[in-house]
Subunit: 162 residues, 3 copies
Amino acid sequence: MERSLAEMVRRLLDREEIVALLHAYCRHVDRLEPERIASLFTDDCILDYGPGMGGTIRGRANLQERMRGLSRFAATSHHVSNIEIAFQSDDRATGTTYVYALHRFPKFPARPDAHLWGRYHDVFVRTADGWRISERVLRIAGQEEFDIEWYPIGRRGSAGVS
Amino acid sequence: MERSLAEMVRRLLDREEIVALLHAYCRHVDRLEPERIASLFTDDCILDYGPGMGGTIRGRANLQERMRGLSRFAATSHHVSNIEIAFQSDDRATGTTYVYALHRFPKFPARPDAHLWGRYHDVFVRTADGWRISERVLRIAGQEEFDIEWYPIGRRGSAGVS
Amino acid sequence: MERSLAEMVRRLLDREEIVALLHAYCRHVDRLEPERIASLFTDDCILDYGPGMGGTIRGRANLQERMRGLSRFAATSHHVSNIEIAFQSDDRATGTTYVYALHRFPKFPARPDAHLWGRYHDVFVRTADGWRISERVLRIAGQEEFDIEWYPIGRRGSAGVS
């Protein structure tokens, strides 16, 4: 019984650490810190933010390089919510997180803010340095002022529901 | 002392299950899964999403039928936050949850996205199958591109503050 | 070991209380309840919502007076997320919280809704009455339809990164 109580608490703490990881991602993106973004992922991570974002990115170094592209925005603001985490084992979990993101462009030439409503589909693994993201796919429910091809969210009867 | 510690942990887990229920609602709505939406509510649930949404819905079967109306959208994205839960007993709780929802219409005829900023006012009960929503009222702080009558959120001095 | 388990649970509960404080702030702002907003802060609180908002506010009484200004809106909706809390001691914590806020103006004269995307940078202290906010600074990532000077969020290479 005591052991099971301790296990429940550890699971709550693991969940909290994964939530912290998701929030740290947004913070580092919005502060334009590519090396800190990359530090939240495993060395051999795989990301796919959609066809219009260049498709699959493999490895932390490539991810860091790609994240430098955020400098084309004047500011971004990534608001995450609806965090759902499921543990496959003590050291591995999957998660889905909603994101609503504002992207502001530099003042010249004038261009309206771009908005995204999507979900991150993640795999998290516990490493010697704590929880890290090992896989991430972004799917999009809607966008404004972006002219990019994304993966759509799945709806019943549509391809890509998973 | 140990018993009280165990109780605190169980309360944290109950809270987490109710939060999971709120997130599952959004997930199933945005994936267009009416039967799964309905499964999150009690058999005798009562919902009221406002006068323009047809008023009171009674029972899981009627709720499921009503949720089929979501198919008129090309996509939706329900982002919930500010989740406040208060336990009346071990098996009953009330909650308020903020929602910001995007609604995209089919491409033809062209129609701008509709947005809603509101709150779900819920009653949760513990059933043999886990926590379920037994009552839900939606109140709206603002809307864009919807031409529907809602219940307003309450502000001091206005009717409907509860 | 048991003591450390109890400590972990207490820390989880403290975290939950601070999150509840952040949500109560939004609820009272959106319900136009200045005295209840003020009750969430310490007597000697210091707030700074930006140069366009009048700069530094000192003390709970001044804060309450300032919050009466919310009555110029027909409705507001403050959606908070990305809550990151770090404990400096058992009785003191700092936190960063993302906010996306809708502000609706009265119908006459017609004026479009104003939107804000920002972060609250807070200091929380445990008082005899529970956790309270003792310091708060608001920084803004973006805005729409506001003509006010704010503190910008910090990005790498820019002043104000902290």
